[in-house]
Symmetry: C2
Subunit: 66 residues, 2 copies
């Protein structure tokens, strides 16, 4: 499932996928795939993304209806 909240949070901070990737220390493609919902990042990576975007896990990755 696409992670639109993550994309919105990134845009709110005026970051490109590449900017976020750099902050988090991974590649642009991995960010793209996570936003596209095409896989399953590690907890550590999720937390790094949250910190970079000023959000919590629940705000970016929790789905009530799963």
């Amino acid at each position: 499932m696409k992670n639109i909240r993550m994309k919105v949070a990134r845009i709110e901070r005026d970051m490109k996928q590449e900017d976020l990737a750099q902050v988090v220390g991974i590649t642009r493609q991995t960010i793209g795939l996570i936003e596209a919902g095409k896989y399953n990042p590690s907890l550590k990576l999720c937390i790094a993304i949250c910190k970079a975007l000023g959000k919590t896990l629940d705000e970016l990755f929790w789905e009530e209806t799963l």
Copy 2:
């Protein structure tokens, strides 16, 4: 870092590591290692554990001070 909140949530539900492992579909050892803070589960696994224990990601896996 040890995940005490996860262990507490499990005990509250009166589950053994093995019970939780079965519900979530992984092995007892993996639960043990996650509680011991010795690695880095996938998001999918974190969510499955949360659902099994009636908690959210923030409640079990978010650390303000990371």
